[in-house]
Symmetry: D2
Subunit: 344 residues, 4 copies
């Protein structure tokens, strides 16, 4: 079978992670990578056998041998790169969020549709073995009709002020994964969001206009209810759990742990903290999401996470921001309908 | 030590449960019980050694030897009985809710305060060993400042239509325990409630104007956030879990199980369902709450659950009803402040 | 229904525990208790309503109104009391072990058989809800034919030297429960024992000729294998677990815990130690074993633990002692067959 | 850093597994593989970039560029290959067992010592994250002096008759891993073995003179006791657990599961079976053991599992076989001392 040739745009942490996963895979060649600061990436690229390192992502797109690109550059470049890649006829994998403005995301999706190329959004958590099993069991009808979805999603420690400043805010940067997980597990679109939240951890985050703690209520099109619980700091590490409740039962997924060892001593029973952060917890999911993207590039199936999935999560994040500001529940439908009139 | 003499008002399920627990206790005499249908109670009362069965609760109150009464009659009688018992100088234990109208509850509390008798509200879940340990650990500072409280509270099966009709509705009948648990675990008053909910289980419940599924967001006076998740039907039985998250960690309490046995077979790993319902899960709590009430009657300490605790939970239930009706978050303070103007 | 009248012989810890459980039970009267030091017992007996306290157990047996006796006196008195109670026509509940010499136990069982009275041995652990569920599932065929039984049985702290001196040794005092559990769960008699063990905790125990740590291999008549793991000191408290493995699966039972609360903090995930010791862990079992004894006294069924159950466990203990001494596996059958020739 | 060049001897399941793990590793080149049936291996070798496929392992040893060899050929070839590789000056990784006759193993170890090359035995389970954590905690003193080690080790289904015939028997083929784990976790040599066992699963195994079920008692040089529980068939899959008990506590390690998902339904609480078999459960351990071997080849440390570790486990297996045959405990020391007189 002819290998799939890949270009990676952006040699930051996530770009490198994807590239390293792909070079270990049979039937895939990572042919080029681009980064605005290519010097830093050259030695690394060479060590894992990526032949070309460019400054300009257009050079990646210009290579006719490249079948697909991974867009791992900063969020504010995504839309331009997507549109250019679509015009170049490349299959596209883009990290989340597509953009900071859902109207631009709508435009990017339209470009992709016009070009007829596949577009997969990087909601890697759908590929976590725990959450995937939950989804399989829900889809298999093990709990009947879904009544509620609850998501606990807490980071081990708050990001740096620089990161917070350019992150788009908690809802866009962090909760966006949870909005997608809520849609994935409920099998339904979010129709309404009510967000409560505040600054309980780090006043510096508040000074930048963001929050670090949130509790978000959801309503879904199928009548189910949802709840997302976010914190930028869990003293015990990354806390990523879900629960789906339905007419005939309930399915939960717990955190992963570095080992199953337990200590019984004079103070009680003890085990280690959960896996530290997303690189540890979600390592398998990053491999799996690209496996399925590669399969889609090969024409073996549709991409498992669509542009619309990206858009819906962005709309929910937008609604959450509005809800927090106004102190009221916010419906998603009117937002999506007002593209062109609203400021994000 | 002189025994404490108790009168029980109402010989329904909960009245009998309390009486049976008390007759096994040293230092306590259950001297009388009253019920509008005394015939049904006589044989039972005799079998456990309660000498007097009355129709009229006033006869219980008229017995000067009786130190304290347990009010286990229907909710719509509570306020009258409380006021009469207070006038009679009895220590009072009253099942929740105090009333269906928080303004009457305020009046009842005022009567009790005027009489100077102890009043304990039957929020038995505070005495569940699991939740009590959570509270102890929170109070001991094990997780630092509390950021959020999450409560899962699901019944194994919906009540009968008759019950629903006179229950006061989901928030007053069922969630009221959770509102109290939220205050207990957060150590703070609820200031705002946003309730989403609907009829996902039994249309008959909807036809009576009630809901069977709810997801309720809370804000607390100390800045923390809360979430309560209610269902009238969990296919796997009574589901009663809490989670308190704070600056330095998180504390959870799980359901109790009939046994710790686990079966590993060709289909997976299996254990029994949680303890079936409140009589099973909370059996210890019912004994413990009366132990502490008896101690208070003896003057060995304050009652552990006050009239104000009852009131605060009722205000939250009232706010939840209003929130659900209007589709917006509702603050508690203005409600409490408007006694006399509002209709419950 | 006519109440069952009980006499308790021996007012030590276990005698009092049984008496206190029985006085709370409807349909049972604890009419008398005997103890060589009756003064110490009088106030206690009076406080729970036991009318008669005797020095001589014969006075208990002489009361024709008494239907059944609980033998809770020191082990070296059991056989005499059993024989006398049998002659007096009383139903008998006797604490384990029946005696320190299996030949005397055989004689006692013969007396009981001759008198035609029920005899139940106090292997309370069979009535623990966890182990009982394991047994139910085994009997229901959930794991098919049993291949092995493993028992972990560790005390939280070693007994006093005085206790050790008169205990009969680890196998007779402690392991005897596990031998019975092994028979109960496997549904088969023990045919061979190999015991390894030593003094790893307290040299004082060794100086008295006993051991504090043992690992015992079993063979069963049905072809299954077994393992018992004993220690006189588990730093984390009472450790009482079983595992039954069979052709189609495996069933385990874990320890019980004071609560289900778990703490997640910067050091890991923590829960409390298991319930401290037998009074906490096995509290329900002590009530249940007497419920079933009372039912047998009423003629509602056979006793659930027979004299032969007591004998078989004693034979296994005897074999274990011999095995440890000789450093070889020891079969039970020849031991039982040599009554009259062997010294225990 | 100069890459380490590896030759793999034997292209069966385990040889391929190691080769595939190594080709993904930076700094390692798998230069050649040998197999008596090279045709079957050629396409596979080519697909992962191994340039040379030989029939004769001597050709691998003759390549001076090759630093180290992995011996993955059948057990009865190990000793010859080890000796030849040692003479060729290669670092050696050899699968377990070294041989079916501990006297040959002693000879092979002597050859290696004479040549001064590293020899690592493939006891991969030491590198399982769960068991490794247990070992770290034991070594860190978390449970004080070790009193006992218990190992549960059950396969999901019995091997084929062909496999059984050439496996060397349960103790040599399967328990050998557990003997090594017992030494690893106790930090002490096994001094005595008592093995009980039989044919409870598959009569065909018995007809070949082997057993399928065993319960093995151990004594250690440091005074601790041990127990190994083996079955060739666990209906619920691979069951690999350990428990180490000591003066100050206990450490356990459980099985690994494909996911943390749990289902609560009308029948109870359910999760998946443990990971199916050794390829799934121990996948990480296979990578880790070679990482440490490569480090040793580079001179960055000693091999983590020595030839003596291999020998000690073989001696225990030999003693177990003798114990089962003779029905008595067997000491290891006299066996090791009688090299030259005993038949394995």
């Amino acid at each position: 079978m002819k290998p799939v040739q890949i270009g990676v745009i952006g040699a930051g942490r996530i770009g490198r992670l994807h590239a390293e996963n792909l070079v270990r895979r049979r039937g895939v060649i990572v042919k080029a990578i681009s980064d605005l600061y290519p010097e830093a990436a050259r030695e690394w690229a060479s060590s894992i056998g990526i032949p070309h390192v460019h400054v300009d992502y257009q050079e990646v797109l210009a290579d006719p041998a490249i079948d697909a690109v991974l867009i791992c550059s900063p969020t504010d470049t995504h839309v331009d790169v997507i549109c250019a890649a679509a015009r170049a006829g490349k299959a596209i994998f883009c990290e989340k969020p597509v953009s900071f403005d859902f109207r631009q995301t709508i435009d990017a999706i339209a470009s992709v549709a016009h070009a007829g190329v596949p577009l997969q959004i990087g909601f890697n958590r759908r590929f976590d073995p725990n959450f995937r099993r939950v989804k399989e069991w829900v889809d298999a009808g093990k709990i009947g009709k879904v009544h509620s979805v609850k998501i606990t999603s807490r980071d081990p420690s708050p990001p740096s002020p620089e990161y917070v400043r350019s992150s788009g805010g908690l809802f866009v940067d962090m909760t966006i994964h949870d909005f997608d997980m809520a849609r994935y597990l409920s099998g339904s679109d979010i129709t309404e969001v009510y967000a409560a939240g505040g600054v309980l951890i780090d006043p510096a985050i508040g000074e930048m206009g963001d929050i670090d703690t949130a509790m978000i209520s959801l309503k879904f099109a199928n009548g189910a209810f949802g709840m997302i619980d976010n914190s930028r700091k869990a003293a015990y590490g990354y806390d990523q759990r879900v629960e789906v409740f339905g007419m005939d039962g309930c399915i939960t997924a717990d955190n992963d742990y570095p080992s199953s060892a337990q200590l019984y001593d004079g103070n009680g029973v003890h085990r280690e903290k959960p896996k530290y952060f997303f690189l540890e917890r979600y390592s398998v999911s990053y491999i799996q999401e690209l496996d399925e993207f590669i399969a889609a590039v090969r024409g073996e199936g549709a991409v498992p996470v669509s542009g619309n999935d990206g858009l819906q999560a962005e709309l929910a994040a937008y609604a959450a921001r509005l809800s927090l500001k106004d102190g009221r529940p916010v419906k998603l439908e009117p937002i999506a309908a007002t593209k062109g009139r609203f400021a994000g």
